[in-house]
């Protein structure tokens, strides 16, 4: 089968052999003509991102304006940012966001990797499938339900956790109301909900490792632990690096739904994050511009973090997200 001129040009452009002097628009047009079914499939995703992710960036100019429901907004420059940075509350929610995100990164991020490694070592396929199903299940529960489960389980008077503490002779503790424990409740509930589901990606990466590497390791006398350390882990390192960078990009998203449902008056100052602050100031108090300023600040920090993580990763491992 021979390629006509257009197909050949498109093929060359895809494999990177289009001369640098070629008109970029022509090259793109040729690509689209040659691979149009794929571009058509891309279209809904592209529209989604433009409408829901890029258009709102333009609307973030509200942070520099006083909001008007009718008529044009009034340009006020950095007034709302000054109000934010003068507020002790904002620095408190910023600190909470950073602390909770750092705790999640340190304690939640590694768990799916460990889970995937452990599940991979389960030899009985029936048992493995059961474990996988069981650990995926919490992912499908909403935070409203999960908050209810945790409040009931951690209740000082009737919760199962305090009952177990009682058997060990320990006095009951109000985990949901103690400032020293609530952040751990946030971290643990996040782990409980997402670790199983997140392990799926790592498990898929493990499945993609060439079995010959294990055979070779076995011939060299490696035991199971050595195979995990020297074959499995290096095999999933690119996946770990990519997901780590993506997680860094979401660092400032400490979990609105989760915090909103787990918070109570006793501990709100410990887990109030930028997202809940934006919700309270914006929607509940009607200060839309101030809330947008807080949201924009969060977005910019997130952007800086992801670029920094990508750059560092690129230098250290040669791999980044783009």
């Amino acid at each position: 089968m021979s390629l006509d001129e257009k197909q050949l040009a498109a093929h060359l452009s895809v494999i990177g052999n289009v001369p640098k002097t070629a008109n970029l628009r022509t090259a793109l047009g040729m690509k689209i003509r040659a691979w149009w079914p794929y571009y058509l499939m891309l279209l809904p995703g592209l529209v989604y991102f433009i409408v829901f992710h890029y258009y709102p960036i333009y609307q973030a100019k509200l942070a520099f304006e006083d909001f008007r429901i009718f008529g044009d907004n009034l340009w006020v420059g950095t007034k709302h940012f000054e109000t934010l940075f003068d507020s002790r509350a904002f620095f408190q929610v910023l600190a909470n966001t950073l602390i909770i995100s750092a705790m999640k990164m340190a304690f939640v991020f590694p768990v799916p990797i460990l889970l995937a490694l452990l599940i991979n070592e389960v030899r009985a396929s029936g048992l493995r499938r059961f474990i996988q199903s069981a650990i995926y299940l919490p992912h499908f529960l909403s935070w409203v339900v999960i908050a209810g489960i945790f409040i009931a389980a951690l209740s000082p008077s009737s919760g199962v956790v305090n009952e177990i503490r009682g058997w060990a002779g320990l006095s009951p503790r109000g985990f949901m109301t103690e400032s020293g424990s609530i952040r751990w409740v946030v971290v643990f509930s996040e782990m409980w909900r997402s670790a199983g589901w997140d392990s799926l990606l790592y498990f898929a990466a493990i499945m993609a490792i060439d079995p010959q590497l294990y055979d070779a390791a076995e011939m060299d006398g490696a035991n199971r632990w050595q195979k995990i350390i020297n074959v499995t882990l290096p095999g999933i390192t690119p996946t770990i690096a990519t997901l780590f960078i993506l997680n860094v990009g979401l660092f400032m998203n400490a979990g609105f739904d989760q915090v909103f449902n787990l918070a109570n008056d006793a501990v709100r100052d410990q887990i109030d994050i930028i997202d809940t602050y934006v919700y309270r100031i914006g929607l509940q108090s009607g200060q839309f511009s101030l809330a947008t300023a807080a949201g924009l600040f969060k977005g910019v920090i997130g952007m800086v973090l992801i670029v920094a993580a990508h750059t560092i990763s690129k230098r250290l491992t040669g791999k980044g997200v783009w």
């Binding site: 429901i69 507020s87 109000g174 400032s179 006793a266 709100r268 009607g286």
Partner: protein
């Protein structure tokens, strides 16, 4: 030929009917109302429309219902999209819309009204003077405390009348086993989420008589006053002795009601009037033959905020149908409107025996969607509330004291929010004993730094 003639006739009739319908629709203004979604909304709208048409002011009412859960947020988002109905029911976040001139000043309309001007309560008049954009013709939303009557009887105690008696009464309840489950697992009292409902009945006992108190010749917020400190010390004692449910802060209103009906707490507070009646109805559904007894607060009730309505109806200032919108609100204050709104659905909530209205048991679950007017102006032909519900309204009227709180300017929104969050967290730490009362001065410093200083500075420019 016959078929063609028939088709022509049908077409002519259809066109004529269409034009006639259009002309009719033009004569009858459509009033859009956004409010809580309730079963039977469409039927209620139809009855209002029919009565208004009969009274010579026909309107077409279009009710837009929003589910109660998350109502204020959903309403804000809807209004922000620029889709603003003629009448809006707010439960907060209205000030920003008022600041932008979207809400109509209701005072001139009320002055010229047929019914509303006479139907207002004293607190409505005061609130309209301070903030004329929102109206909620309803008794002051005071809270009243209730206990199961059979438990009160079994305790052998008289209903408490002062703070010492209240303490002893609540202690006796918490040491009892009136629910008969063989365990002392009933708490004396529960306020959901925070101490606000406790404050409703205990504030005056400690001298927290208003939001702003004069101390050493200067206005200070009650939350950093000596009176507040004494009150929190009392709550700390209730908590330490197991009288106050220690899980109050993680209990929302649904949990509160559940604990009350299932005998895990003896005393709860509810909004005077229909809410107290709903508690009674649900209690009777779960515990057949039981009833509720209204408890008198130890030293009166918390002062009532008259700075503005904290909920209520507003009219879109730029609506083309302002007259029709106000006509609906005015009609709902008329005897006919009140009859429709407060008695519910005939056959379900009441029946007519000749000219006599007979209330059915389901009345306990009905609540007026719009107004409950001042009883000096109009009262229903039959008592719609039980004695305990009626008593709670009388209690609210008896102990009514206007508060001196005012509306905060938008510039202070983040300070007010920060101080509120700090106060709420600190209260739990004091009440739970995590903080000792010796740390009071540190708390005051923290509250001032969190936003209290800016609030106090502003308050001193506003208060006389």
């Amino acid at each position: 030929m016959l078929a063609r003639n028939l088709l022509s006739s049908v077409a002519a009739i259809a066109v004529a009917a269409g034009l006639g319908g259009a002309a009719l629709a033009q004569d009858v203004p459509t009033v859009t109302i956004i409010a809580h979604e309730n079963p039977g909304d469409a039927e209620l709208a139809e009855r209002i429309e029919a009565s208004m048409a009969e009274a010579g002011t026909p309107v077409d009412i279009e009710l837009i219902g929003i589910p109660s859960s998350g109502y204020p947020d959903a309403l804000s988002l809807r209004l922000l999209s620029g889709e603003i109905p003629d009448i809006m029911y707010f439960q907060g976040a209205d000030a920003e819309f008022a600041n932008q001139g979207i809400l109509e000043d209701l005072r001139p309309w009320i002055e010229q009204s047929t019914y509303l001007k006479d139907a207002l309560w004293a607190h409505n008049v005061a609130r309209l003077e301070n903030y004329p954009y929102l109206l909620y013709v309803f008794p002051a939303r005071t809270k009243s405390a209730v206990v199961r009557s059979d438990w009160l009887e079994e305790s052998g105690l008289a209903a408490p009348t002062n703070l010492d008696e209240w303490t002893e009464f609540l202690r006796a309840m918490s040491e009892s086993d009136f629910d008969g489950n063989g365990a002392q697992d009933t708490y004396g009292i529960l306020a959901p989420d925070n101490t606000a409902e406790l404050d409703a009945i205990f504030n005056p006992s400690f001298g927290v008589t208003a939001t702003w108190l004069e101390q050493d010749g200067e206005w200070i917020h009650a939350r950093v006053s000596d009176a507040e400190r004494a009150k929190l010390e009392y709550y700390q004692m209730l908590y330490a002795e197991g009288i106050l449910d220690p899980e109050y802060v993680t209990s929302n209103w649904e949990v509160k009601e559940d604990k009350f009906y299932t005998g895990r707490v003896a005393v709860v507070m509810g909004t005077a009037g229909p809410v107290i009646d709903i508690y009674r109805t649900k209690m009777q559904e779960i515990n057949e033959g039981s009833d509720l007894t209204l408890l008198a607060p130890p030293d009166g009730l918390e002062a009532v905020n008259v700075a503005k309505e904290d909920r209520g109806f507003a009219i879109h200032a730029m609506s083309d149908n302002k007259e029709a919108a106000f006509a609906v609100l005015d009609f709902l204050a008329s005897p006919e409107g009140q009859f429709i709104d407060r008695l519910g659905v005939e056959g379900e909530h009441y029946t007519m025996n000749g000219d006599t209205v007979e209330v059915l048991p389901a009345m306990g679950t009905w609540y007026p969607r719009f107004w409950t007017v001042n009883p000096d102006y109009w009262s229903p032909p039959v008592d719609l509330l039980s004695d305990v519900g009626q008593g709670s309204l009388a209690q609210g009227a008896e102990y009514f004291v206007p508060d001196n709180a005012f509306v905060w300017p938008a510039e202070l929104a983040s300070d007010v929010d920060a101080a509120e969050q700090y106060y709420r967290s600190s209260v739990f730490r004091f009440v739970s004993g995590e903080w000792s009362m010796d740390q009071w001065d540190q708390y005051v410093e923290g509250w001032n730094a969190a936003g209290g200083n800016a609030m106090t500075e502003y308050a001193r420019t506003v208060l006389p």
